[in-house]
Subunit: 336 residues, 2 copies
Amino acid sequence: MRIAVDAMGGDLGSELPVRGAIAALRKREDVEIVLVGPRDFLEKQVAEIIGDSSGISDRLFFEHATEVIGMDESPVEAIRKKKDSTVMVGFELIRNAKADAVISAGNSGATMAAAIRKLGRLKGISRPGIASFFPTLKEPVMLMDIGANVDCRPQHLLQFAIMAASCSSLLNGIDRPRIGLLSIGEEASKGNALIKETHALLSSGPLNFIGNVEGRDVYKGDVDVIICDGFVGNISLKISEGLAEAAMQMLKTEILKSWRAKIGYLLIKNAFVRFRERLDYAEYGGAPLLGINGVGIICHGTSDATAIQNAVFVAADMVQHRVNDGISQTLAEYNA
Amino acid sequence: MRIAVDAMGGDLGSELPVRGAIAALRKREDVEIVLVGPRDFLEKQVAEIIGDSSGISDRLFFEHATEVIGMDESPVEAIRKKKDSTVMVGFELIRNAKADAVISAGNSGATMAAAIRKLGRLKGISRPGIASFFPTLKEPVMLMDIGANVDCRPQHLLQFAIMAASCSSLLNGIDRPRIGLLSIGEEASKGNALIKETHALLSSGPLNFIGNVEGRDVYKGDVDVIICDGFVGNISLKISEGLAEAAMQMLKTEILKSWRAKIGYLLIKNAFVRFRERLDYAEYGGAPLLGINGVGIICHGTSDATAIQNAVFVAADMVQHRVNDGISQTLAEYNA
């Protein structure tokens, strides 16, 4: 499998994507990487980072791209103007069968727009979306959509359910993933108009729909997939990130108030680090674009090398398990 | 000021509301309490709880009510059938000028429905809503609506902004509260159709609207008021509660893995308790119903005595600062 990594995406420069890609190559021998960006610059950077390139240099390639889309650029305008941008060149590689997947920590709207422009939608899917993994007390849960589609109709949410369930099933080896619909009460009568109509649609189909789940149940881990529109999903994700960060800061403030607590903190430190890792979305390997005719993964703009490495692994798994074939098959079953 | 407390609301029986009411009486001498519920039962319970009733017994009253609305009952049906329920009797007290406010930890939909039935809406307000305080790294922020109105039009969100800003201004002594609109990006172009239209409405008025705020900014405390529809608000609240709970559990799991961390935990314990208090919504004193012709406060079904006590304080402050007059005045300024 050959994974194209946008080496210039993200807020923190090219070093972290490059380090992440190299780490992935070292850990998985079935993976090849194409770094997309200014070739000379990247070749030099790679040489600096890896003293000993044995075992990976024959699986590391470069694809020249001269432009970068900024985080604040309008996606549609940016991909029209910057034909030689890293994301456009990346998805062109998939179109020409020179790569199997693209990973970018850059402008996520532009990544989605470039994917649709270069690869098109999967047959039967009207709105591709973005799925994301949330940590829970049990296994991570897949939430979709986290921001691509802010105004949705019930039919769109149904398609998100079909896509996320297929992806979750194939990636995690779950036979019939439990699907929940994010709402404000468990009863079918609870929710806004969109949710009530979607509840009816999901109830009548062949999917393993277990009903509404409330916000407080998201982190319990009793479902495999949670469906919502992109507005609600994005706010759910961001509010969780914000709370996790604020909570750590509040706890630190409390700890610094006494010397006993400070000593306690030193003894507890490793537990804290492991806890942060569990909460840290970086660990969960990026957000798959679902519904496009290929494999694309969006990473957080502040992704570190581990996050990029894990995104490469998720991309490789998606290619290996033919997630898009699974989606098409589930869609056909639903329509039958 | 006379505050009516629904003594039978909540998941945990009547003891906690009664204890909370008594605690409030002991701490604030300008407050009188009416406990609403089965009189004989409540009188006996009060006698058991307070050995020495000196200083408060002349400010504690009882109002007989024979029915209780269950947490899962349909609000509209319940208030129609149970005319002698604690919440209906409570708001009747306000209508007859025998109380200034009602507090209930019972079925929140029924409390809202009873308030509207007995007191009606404030003039010019089409949709009363529920506001709630969120803890932040700075001062608590008021978020509205947290669940009363799941399908909103821009005009409703504008009214939420007017109501929450007036309430926040009078309760917290803030001259012109900073109002943010919950969305998925700071730019006016970011959000769903409802948010974009509301952004335009809020921008043109006299309110101190500072633009969109993202989910990750909710806990930073850089705004005083955050506006959203009741579906998004309820999910934001519940997902935060769920994450806070899950985070504490994950941290505990990590700590229990080593003896060093266990010792550290003992040293750090007080800091933990204070941290929990900051995150604990109970501390923030319930959720004001705004837009009704009177003062009503909804408490969490699992409220402890401290939460009820704090809700009494918030209710007393709302009466004292004439929040409803403030709302009517801001509404008039907006329309002028």
